[in-house]
Symmetry: C2
Subunit: 199 residues, 2 copies
């Protein structure tokens, strides 16, 4: 509609490529940004440019940070014998928010998926095997999603690590904290029953 709206249109188009935003919500976000161009849009553009320039993946575990070795892999406070295998960085952050794991991580960068044609060579599995040798790892904790793809990947990794002298464990399945039986799916109830423990 307007030559002087070209820049704004370009911004809407770029924003619409973010996950969770469509063309409509991108327009709304851009109008909000324009309204708050001093307080929000300026700082956001600046911070985004800085992160775009500085962010990189940790060469060891695949976490994101501003160094080639991430904070967790650098930390002397984190146990080196345990590696928690996660699908992506969001899962690593979720584990860190729970603050219950003091070892190190390994980000696969996805799960095996026949549909999306993701094979073992697309994930960071060889690097995991190398780390097990190099870091003297004794336990690999598979913290993968309880989905078909997640569990397929878990089984594949467990198979590949057999005979390497590491114990391979996975997160327990069961009733989530605060969960009411009435609202749980049958699969979860079944898994919780099979894994029942002495009270």
């Amino acid at each position: 509609m307007a030559e002087d709206r070209e820049q704004i249109e370009a911004l809407i188009e770029l924003m619409a490529r973010l996950p969770g935003l469509g063309p409509r919500s991108a327009r709304r976000a851009v109008l909000h940004l324009i309204k708050k161009r001093g307080a929000l849009m300026g700082p956001l553009a600046e911070t985004m440019a800085a992160v775009a320039a500085n962010a990189r993946e940790c060469l060891t575990c695949g976490n994101v940070g501003t160094e080639t070795t991430c904070e967790i892999c650098r930390s002397v406070k984190r146990a080196t014998g345990e590696i928690c295998v996660v699908e992506d960085v969001a899962d690593l952050w979720a584990m860190e928010r729970a603050a219950v794991f003091r070892g190190r991580y390994h980000v696969l960068g996805g799960t095996l998926s026949a549909l999306d044609a993701v094979g073992p060579e697309d994930l960071r599995i060889p690097k995991l095997e190398q780390r097990i040798e190099d870091e003297g790892v004794t336990e690999v904790i598979l913290a993968l999603a309880a989905t078909v793809d997640g569990q397929t990947t878990a089984h594949y990794i467990a198979d590949r690590l057999e005979g390497r002298g590491v114990s391979v464990t996975s997160l327990a399945q069961g009733v989530p904290v605060g969960g009411e039986l009435d609202y749980l799916d049958d699969g979860t109830i079944g898994a919780a029953l099979r894994a029942r423990r002495a009270f």
Copy 2:
């Protein structure tokens, strides 16, 4: 969790302030941006900085653009006698996408709202009155939302413009195109019946 994640955390916090994004979806968006930092994050930061620097509101109608008078107000192709009053710029864009109105706009910047303490002095109503005088306006079309606040605002403006020699109209209410009666609320069906026309 990490000093080198401070920048990334700051970016997530800023992104979470966008309408439609919460902390969780902001994290997801930022991880997506980091993955595509060359193809998406760089251009987005650049475009956002450019818009933040250049975007301004049209002093006449309140539309956004890069000049102090927007493309529509500058255009000699747009009729000057008709002003379409809308609540915000998103509504103006919606009207423009429909491409059915060839006059000019006036963006109120909100609706009257007792709850949010928005009074007439907070909207751009005096500017509308001034434009009616200056531009020789003959028709003011109230394209406000069919909500309580929208209609209160419409009635208020209609009252204020009485005796100024402009005809004040509003968008028709009725069955939306493609709408099925069975799925319409009672209010819409009532409005459509009251406004029935010869077939």
